[in-house]
């Protein structure tokens, strides 16, 4: 553990958050490939079998203000254990195989023997995703419409 317990925990949580985000947003074929790289690892145990259900998405106007219920979306989740290390996988939209693979990769990423190689694979996925996002944003910016409101200067 890092000298400063609280900071160390926060950093670990941040890494975990990034890992779960990457796994959730990456194409399942990529996770399938990563999982196949670790085929020789100890047999994973399914702790909570993949299941699909409804999740209420809540929002806040402009990111602040009171939360309101936006609507329900289908989501899948799964929990896998590799030698006692639990991995959690969540996906927006129903895809139980994807949830299982995300949970498996999360567990491997938390396992001290596999954390390094998994992190390298995930870093590559993150780079690719960042490129896609910035390309999409560049395309979208050309279609932006600016709205202006005329204010009456009565006072």
């Amino acid at each position: 553990m890092e000298p400063d317990g609280a900071t160390g925990l926060a950093a670990a949580q941040e890494r975990r958050r990034e890992r779960m985000e990457t796994l959730s947003l990456s194409p399942p074929e990529e996770l399938e490939r990563i999982a196949s790289l670790f085929a020789g690892c100890p047999e994973p145990v399914t702790v909570r079998a993949a299941e699909t259900g409804l999740v209420m998405v809540r929002g806040r106007i402009a990111g602040h203000g009171a939360a309101f219920n936006l609507g329900e979306v289908l989501a899948s989740r799964c929990v896998v254990s590799v030698e006692g290390v639990l991995g959690f996988g969540y996906t927006l939209f129903p895809d139980e195989r994807h949830a299982y693979l995300a949970a498996l990769c999360d567990a491997l990423g938390g396992h001290r023997d596999y954390a390094g190689p998994v992190e390298r694979e995930l870093a590559a996925l993150r780079r690719r995703r960042a490129e896609t996002v910035s390309r999409d944003e560049a395309e979208a910016v050309g279609t932006r419409v600016e709205f202006f409101t005329m204010v009456r200067g009565d006072d």
Binding site: Q13, V45, V47, R48, A49, L86
Partner: protein
């Protein structure tokens, strides 16, 4: 974070169907009090020790994030397992919808549990006592008891494994407050037996020791598809059944 969550054992492999099977069995047990029903709970999932497979299956089936769950001291280590799989929150016996005890000596007294109130007697707690001898192998005789009440056409002699005079007395006092009260499940390995609040217990007049009679084999495990129905049919065909 990993360290805190490490080592949670799996629950039902096929949660919707497995929990429906167990729920059907629990209904059957409540409808036919003081009879021992058998099912392969251990085949459904590997219950982490010291949990009894039948009790674990009942709790995984019946509890959710709205139910308070009390675990007796010897089972307290399983609190994380149940809160992970069901969301049930650990609580004091008086607030528990379900209480599980490793044996009768650990069980909270019946009057320490919620009995519901006059408007809502359904809020009474359910007590699960892991006191049956597990099914299979040599079965030690239990305290000879006689059960009567709804679901029992004529009084039924049965073996009250792990039960005591004091427990029978407590239940008699509780029955005076009907419809308020506590429903009891006795479990062990592959066996469950229900003592709903309507069932009256007394010392068997025949004396001697009770003999365990497993009413019927019911569903459970992979091969148990649709067996709850078969079980009901086989129950009508004798085996000392009271109708």
């Amino acid at each position: 974070m990993e360290a805190v969550l490490a080592g949670i054992a799996p629950a039902f492999r096929d949660h919707p169907h497995d929990s429906q099977k167990v729920f059907r069995l629990a209904l059957e047990a409540m409808a036919r009090p003081a009879r021992f029903l058998e099912a392969d709970f251990a085949g459904l999932f590997p219950a982490p020790p010291p949990l009894d497979p039948a009790a674990a299956a009942l709790i995984l089936t019946l509890c959710d994030h709205d139910t308070g769950l009390y675990l007796s001291p010897s089972l307290a280590g399983a609190a994380g397992y149940f809160s992970f799989h069901t969301g049930a929150r650990p609580c004091h016996p008086s607030e528990a919808a379900f209480a599980v005890a490793g044996d009768l000596s650990e069980a909270p007294p019946l009057d320490a549990l919620g009995w519901g109130d006059e408007a809502c007697p359904d809020l009474g707690a359910t007590l699960v006592i892991c006191c049956l001898p597990g099914g299979g192998g040599a079965v030690p005789p239990g305290m000879a008891l006689r059960a009567s009440g709804p679901g029992l056409g004529t009084p039924l002699e049965f073996a009250g494994h792990g039960l005591t005079e004091a427990f029978v007395g407590e239940r008699e006092l509780m029955r005076a407050c009907y419809p308020q009260g506590v429903d009891v499940f006795l479990t062990g390995g592959s066996l469950i037996c229900a003592l709903p609040r309507t069932t009256a217990l007394e010392r068997s007049r025949q004396g001697g020791r009770g003999r365990m009679r497993v009413a019927a084999k019911a569903g459970g495990g992979q091969g148990g598809r649709g067996s709850a129905g078969e079980h009901r049919r086989s129950g009508q065909g004798g085996e000392g059944e009271c109708t």
